[in-house]
């Protein structure tokens, strides 16, 4: 039986929880099965044996970016409806999990989320209130989030086996490739404004050329060696209050 619109809405809404049962054995596999259930129940209505077999197939190990998993849920549902043979379904699962992960990671975690976060921070640092700044982030980010999830589901159902072609070199990947310069510039601007805000909390001003120069060198060194840069940053975060408290104790 063909899934109804309400089944699609239910499956789409369940993709918001697709990673909840993530584990080291099946990764997001159980979550995919959970999200597909409204579709599978309709497709195999009155046939519990087929339903059990399809749920078992759906629970097998799978991984991908959580927002783009909506594409896999819909495409796999489509394959079940078309009665594709299990071998084809398994090949499809193996073929799309790589692109679903890398394209989603690069576009959403690598670009969209940091850009929205940085815009919100910029707004606060330029004088917007904390409530407005947080609201700006949530509305902006989730506008993109909901759009990507909805697009992914719709395209997955329409394209079925063809979603792999849409992902590799698709608009999302191209967009991610264009946005990184904006992201980097925003990172530099906001980091400097945060330092200025902190310096002002301490009752000083950001006029030390030496500090700005050393900061620039440290930022570039961390860019070249990000792992070590992260460790240095963590150490400095701990050193700061130690210096402050020691100074207060010593006088």
């Amino acid at each position: 039986m063909k899934p109804l619109r309400s089944d699609h809405v239910a499956a789409w809404s369940r993709t918001f929880a697709v990673q909840a049962s993530w584990n080291y054995r099946t990764l997001v596999g159980a979550g995919i099965a959970y999200a597909m259930l409204p579709l599978l129940r309709r497709i195999y209505a009155g046939d519990p044996v087929q339903l059990r077999e399809s749920v078992e197939r759906s629970m097998r190990p799978f991984n991908g970016h959580p927002y783009l998993c909506a594409m896999a849920v819909a495409a796999l549902g489509r394959l079940e409806q078309e009665e594709a043979d299990p071998e084809t379904v398994e090949k499809f699962r193996n073929a799309v999990r790589g692109p679903l992960g890398t394209v989603g990671d690069r576009a959403v975690w690598g670009q969209w989320r940091p850009i929205c976060v940085l815009i919100s921070m910029f707004a606060f640092l330029m004088g917007a209130g904390p409530g407005w700044s947080v609201a700006l982030f949530l509305v902006l980010y989730n506008g993109g989030h909901f759009a990507v999830r909805t697009w992914a589901y719709a395209v997955g159902w329409e394209a079925g086996l063809g979603v792999g072609r849409l992902l590799k070199g698709g608009w999302l990947e191209r967009w991610a490739g264009r946005m990184w310069p904006v992201n980097m510039m925003l990172t530099g601007t906001v980091a400097l404004l945060v330092v200025d805000a902190l310096v002002r909390v301490a009752g000083a001003s950001l006029e030390s050329e030496a500090l700005i120069g050393v900061g620039a060198v440290v930022a570039l060194a961390a860019f070249r060696f990000p792992r070590q840069g992260g460790r240095v940053a963590a150490v400095l975060l701990v050193v700061a209050p130690v210096l402050w408290v020691l100074g207060a104790l010593v006088g």
């Binding site: 990673q19 993530w22 629970m59 940053a233």
Partner: protein, 234 residues
């Protein structure tokens, strides 16, 4: 700020724990709308104690630190929802003005973020047990749904427990730091924090860049920021 002025009643504590439960499950389990980001969670923490701007200030620094850890593949990243809430709440509860309190709040927020990461790994192991055996779950789709929902609630419980366990000790630790005044040595604390932020920003920019090209863009961005500061626009 004195001890007598500090108010952390049971009502505020319960609200914080409930918020921690929601923030704890947001980043992975449901609904992934990113209220678990530090700028949001720390602001909520500040708001619980009547000073969202103080929470946001903590969130700004934690966010720059968190941006260097995107959840690509199997990468480890800090669990910033409950941690941001605790740090923002602790700073706001301390009055949201003392420099020493801010510095201690930041360390608590970052450290608790990594404690949260450990609890996420424990929960993933627990999920392995909850979501098995496959044959039983496939035979009874209702059971699969039930177990999946249990996994969501477990994540909420994880976030709530983190806040319940760490909120009061954090508020006390941060409040202790309120009394520490500025000193010659203490001024270096801000140099350390500023350089830490610079290192974080560099590492964060690399995680979004495709390769090592484009490094001058960080400097261009910082230069624009400096113009805004020197122009008095901030």
């Amino acid at each position: 700020m004195s001890w007598s002025e500090l108010y952390l009643g049971p009502g505020t504590w319960i609200l914080a724990v409930l918020a921690g439960a929601g923030l704890g499950m947001d980043s992975v389990s449901w609904p992934q709308v990113m209220v678990s980001r530090p700028i949001v969670s720390a602001t909520i923490g500040g708001w619980l104690f009547g000073n969202p701007a103080a929470g946001m200030l903590v969130g700004l620094v934690l966010e720059i630190y968190a941006l260097q850890h995107p959840p690509f593949g199997a990468a480890k990243y800090p669990d910033t929802g409950p941690a941001g809430l605790v740090a923002g709440a602790a700073y706001a509860a301390s009055g949201g003005q003392a420099v020493g309190a801010l510095l201690v709040s930041l360390v608590i927020g970052w450290g608790l973020g990594w404690v949260g990461t450990v609890t996420i790994y424990v929960r993933r192991r627990l999920n392995e047990r909850i979501m098995s055996p496959d044959a039983d779950l496939a035979a009874d789709p209702g059971l699969l749904e039930q177990r999946h929902r249990i996994a969501i609630w477990l994540d909420a419980l994880r976030g709530g427990v983190l806040v319940a366990a760490f909120l009061v000790p954090s508020v006390l630790a941060v409040t202790l730091a309120v009394g520490t005044g500025p000193s010659a040595l203490g001024r270096n604390a801000f140099i350390a924090l500023a350089l830490g932020l610079a290192a974080s920003a560099g590492a964060a920019a690399r995680s979004s860049a495709f390769g090592v090209r484009g490094w001058p863009l960080i400097l261009v961005g910082a230069g624009l920021g400096l113009l805004l500061v020197l122009g008095g626009l901030t």
